[in-house]
Structures are given as structure tokens and as C-alpha cells.
């Protein structure tokens, strides 16, 4: 049984093999919770490393789960981000406050204190083939899934939306 297929450096920085196992469990839990069979199958494939983790970013099931599906959700996301950033830049106590150079330096030193290492050129170069493969594979899978509406997930979500809209009309 495999573990999620993702950029090796990303996995390493997040905690390596332990992280992958934890993520796998989380994906399996999410699969158990959903009542959409197509999305469940996809989550399990991601958990086992049969499709790249990043394909989730375009998966309507994932977007729905994370509260990011649709115009309204996107608009709210933009608004919240912009507001938070504004506040952070103005707050003298925030780590994000200051000139770009100050921020970078402060962040770098804080990361050092936390024991998080910043990868160097050699480490990054070594990843290139993996990165290229993941990107190409994800791109191809996403394009294919769009042709079938993600195995019916899109249709199911649209139906659910319509039902909910119908309910609020009759309230």
C-alpha cells in the first residue's frame, strides 16, 4: 500500500514519512465521511499514491469539502485574504509588518529558531525530474476528469445546490 504522491521536498519539510502516513490517514477518513462514491474513490487513490495529491486542487469534491466551491466562496476568500493582509501589514506586532527585506530577514531567522531548514540549490535541482513528472501527470489527469465531470461529482453537487436553493425558496 502506497502513500500520497507529492513533491518529495514538500513531504520532507512537512515531516517526511510520518507526515505521509498521517496525511494518508486523513485522506482515508475524508473518504469514509463523503457520500459521493466517485470522490471517495479519488481520495483513496490519492491516499495510496495512485494519483498525485495536487489533483485535489481542481477536484470539485475537495473544493466543496474545503469551502471553496463557487463564486460566492471565492469572493469571500478574496475579501478575507485582502483584509487579513491589510491588518497584518499595519499591525506592528505582526511578523509580516515592515519592508519586504525586513520581513524576509525576520521570517528567515524565525524559521531557523524553529529548526526549519531552507532548501539549497543542490537539493532543489535534484527534485526537478519529480516536479516535472508530478506537474505533467496532474495536468493530464485533471484534463481527463473534466471531460467526465469528475465521474459525476459535479452533477451531484449541482443537484444538491439546486435542492438547497429550492428549500430556501420555500422557507
Amino acid at each position: 500500500m502506497g502513500t500520497p504522491d507529492m513533491n518529495p521536498l514538500a513531504a520532507k519539510m512537512l515531516g517526511g514519512a510520518d507526515f505521509r502516513k498521517q496525511l494518508k490517514r486523513q485522506l482515508e477518513e475524508a473518504a469514509a465521511k463523503t457520500d459521493d462514491p466517485a470522490y471517495r474513490a479519488r481520495l483513496l487513490e490519492v491516499a495510496e499514491g495512485k494519483r498525485p495529491l495536487r489533483t485535489l486542487m481542481a477536484d470539485p469534491g475537495f473544493l466543496d469539502q474545503m469551502g471553496l466551491r463557487g463564486r460566492e466562496a471565492e469572493r469571500q476568500f478574496d475579501e478575507t485574504m485582502q483584509q487579513r493582509i491589510r491588518e497584518a501589514l499595519q499591525d506592528p506586532n505582526s511578523i509580516w509588518h515592515g519592508t519586504p527585506d525586513e520581513v524576509r530577514e525576520r521570517v528567515r531567522s524565525r524559521l531557523e529558531d524553529m529548526g526549519v531548514t531552507i532548501p539549497d540549490t543542490e537539493e532543489l535541482k535534484a527534485l526537478y525530474c519529480d516536479a516535472e513528472r508530478l506537474g505533467a501527470q496532474a495536468g493530464s489527469i485533471i484534463r481527463q476528469e473534466r471531460l467526465t465531470g469528475w465521474g459525476g461529482t459535479e452533477e451531484r453537487l449541482a443537484e444538491r445546490d439546486a435542492q438547497q436553493a429550492g428549500k430556501s425558496d420555500t422557507d
Partner: protein, 356 residues
């Protein structure tokens, strides 16, 4: 009385004309293959290199022009030699020698003398000019266009841009283009072009010597033939020999090769850093359970929320910064190479006989 066969020597004059005209082909090759880089545009790092490239192309133009003048003036002097002997029945040796003695002799160089029996002219040097090839592919477009699958889910790209804005970068991909944009793969092609021009000049020097030695089968046993022989020995060495034109062209080929390879390595590193960011962002959101929770964590928890993603972003910026530093070092070295090319041109001009 000098041995002088007018027909043979006149044929040598024609050879000089042919070589002179052939040099125009080297210029055309330069226009096509060196010039093509000058018509590109890119980000700051690329433009820094292009600024030097433009200077070297100019210097190359001066070199070719100087080479052409050298060959043309030599031809005119051979013409004058033929006329002088025709007018005086081969007795005018002192006068003729004065023309050819215009330059100091190099005691280490033997004059070009008559060729052995059966020698024949080789092909003109431009016959060897092949189109340049590139050792690398279009990698920059991979880095700048790989988010095409990200654009299907624009929020991911938006999120990465928001992380970037925390560091003072409004749009990550616009910033990447501004810094590292450019047709770096074309630089590899131009490296090949410089090497081919180096080969051209070696061939030019060699063929000049060859054809002149054939000419001297019709003109020898005299002080003026020897003086002319000294001149052509020098000209051939400056154009195509050690310490002459080929070396700076070779150096430029090496530099461009190094630059194109190094830039490729940086691109690999930058591509990988952005790629790591993508997976980390997804993992962080999944972990948080919702996008809004993840966002809140970035701002309230600071780095502890997504340290890996932030570290990847810092890595990305470091790589771009390192690439800039590396290019500045290359540009600094470049200036020295352009000076060498200029010095070679000066030598060519110095070896050129005065006209007429």
C-alpha cells in the same frame, strides 16, 4: 632577376579577392545567429547579459570589417606588384619590396614560401559554417507556463500570490518573469555560433596561407617575395593562429555555454521550489480542514501554521537572488572577453597594409 610568373601571381590576387568576399559570409552568419539574440527580450537578469552581448556583436562587426580590409589591401598590393613587374620587366624589386616591408618582421615566423608540387586550393572557409545547435531546450517556458493546470483552479494560484504579497510581491508569476524571464536556451545556440566562427577564422588563416603558398610558386628567389611572404605569414597567424582571432571567439563560446548551463540549473531549482509550494499549500489546507481555517492560521499563528510553505517561498526568492548574483559575476567576466576581442581586432588592423 626575380623569378616571376605573372599569371600565377595574378591568380593569387584573385584568391585574395575571393577570401575577402568570403568574409562577408561570416558577417552574414553573425547577423543571423549572433544577431538573433539581440532581438529578444526578457527580465532583468537576461537583459544584463544582453547588454554585454550587444557590445560583443558590435566588436565582431569591427573584426570582420577589419579582416575584409586586410584581405582587400593585400589584393591591391599584389595587383600593384604584378603591374610594377609588367612595366619594368621584373626589375623593380627594391620598390616592390618597400611595399611589402611595411611591417616589422616577426623573427619567429618563417615567411610563406612556394607550395610543394601538387598543392591545390581548398574550399573557402565559409563552406564549413554550419547552423549553430543548442544543447538545451525551452525550459523557461516550462517554469512560466507550468501553472496551466493551476489556472484551472484559479484559487490555488491566487493563494500563492497572496503568500507572495506578504513578501512584497504583488503577482508571483509576473515577478518571476521580471527577474528570470528570457530565452536563455537561445544563449546555448549562440555559444555554438561563436565556436563555429572560431573554426571559420582558423580555416581562413589556414586557407590564406595555403593559397598564398601556391601564389609563391610563381614568385620567389627575391627580397620582395620574401618580404611578401613575411607579411602573409603574419596575416595568417593573426587571423587564424595561436594568439590571434580564434582565441577570443573561443572564450566567448565557452562563456555562453557556461551561462546557458548555469541558467538551466537555476531554473530547475526555481521550478522545484514553486512546485514544492503547490503541494505544501494543499497539504496545509487539508490539514486545517478548510481554507478559511488555514488562512486564519497563517495570520494568527504566523509561521508555525505553514512553516514548510514559507520556507519554500524563501528558498524560491533565494534562488532568484542567487541567479542574479551569478549573472552579475558572469557579466563582469564578460567585459574582459569583449576587451580581448577588441585587442584581436586591433591586431588585425595593425597587420593591414595601407591601401594602394
Amino acid at each position: 632577376m626575380v623569378y616571376f610568373d605573372q599569371n600565377v601571381v595574378a591568380s593569387g590576387a584573385k584568391d585574395l579577392a575571393d577570401l575577402r568576399d568570403d568574409v562577408a559570409k561570416a558577417q552574414a552568419y553573425g547577423d543571423d545567429h549572433l544577431g538573433s539574440l539581440g532581438r529578444c527580450n526578457g527580465g532583468k537578469i537576461y537583459e544584463a547579459f544582453l547588454a554585454e552581448h550587444t557590445k560583443s556583436v558590435e566588436k565582431f562587426g569591427e573584426l570582420v570589417s577589419g579582416s575584409r580590409t586586410l584581405l582587400n589591401n593585400a589584393k591591391l598590393h599584389v595587383d600593384s606588384t604584378v603591374k610594377a613587374y609588367a612595366d619594368t620587366e621584373n626589375t623593380n624589386t627594391d620598390e616592390v619590396a618597400k611595399i611589402w616591408n611595411a611591417l616589422e618582421k616577426n623573427p619567429k615566423l618563417s615567411p610563406v614560401g612556394p607550395a610543394s608540387a601538387g598543392a591545390s586550393a581548398g574550399p573557402l572557409p565559409s563552406a564549413g559554417l554550419k547552423p549553430p545547435d543548442s544543447k538545451t531546450d525551452d525550459w523557461i517556458w516550462k517554469v512560466l507556463s507550468w501553472p496551466d493546470y493551476l489556472s484551472i483552479s484559479s484559487w490555488a494560484r491566487t493563494l500563492l500570490n497572496y503568500i507572495a504579497s506578504l513578501f512584497g510581491i504583488a503577482d508571483l508569476w509576473a515577478w518571476l518573469w521580471e527577474c528570470i524571464g528570457g530565452d536563455f536556451n537561445k544563449i546555448s545556440c549562440v555559444s555554438s555560433a561563436w565556436f563555429n566562427l572560431e573554426a571559420y577564422y582558423r580555416e581562413l588563416g589556414s586557407e590564406l596561407k595555403n593559397r598564398m603558398s601556391i601564389m609563391f610558386t610563381g614568385w620567389y628567389d627575391s627580397a620582395d617575395a620574401t618580404a611578401a611572404g613575411d607579411y602573409f605569414a603574419k596575416a595568417a597567424k593573426v587571423l587564424g593562429g595561436t594568439g590571434g582571432v580564434p582565441q577570443p571567439l573561443h572564450n566567448l563560446g565557452d562563456l555562453y555555454n557556461t551561462v546557458s548551463l548555469s541558467s538551466f540549473w537555476f531554473y530547475q531549482a526555481i521550478f522545484s521550489a514553486v512546485d514544492a509550494l503547490v503541494d505544501q499549500t494543499i497539504a496545509a489546507i487539508f490539514e486545517a480542514g478548510s481554507l478559511m481555517t488555514a488562512i486564519a492560521a497563517i495570520f494568527s499563528g504566523g509561521l508555525t501554521a505553514i512553516p514548510a510553505a514559507i520556507a519554500a517561498f524563501i528558498a524560491l526568492m533565494s534562488q532568484v537572488s542567487a541567479m542574479w548574483g551569478w549573472m552579475m559575476t558572469a557579466v563582469y567576466g564578460y567585459t574582459g572577453l569583449i576587451a580581448l576581442l577588441g585587442a584581436a581586432t586591433t591586431d588585425v588592423n595593425w597587420v593591414t597594409l595601407p591601401e594602394g
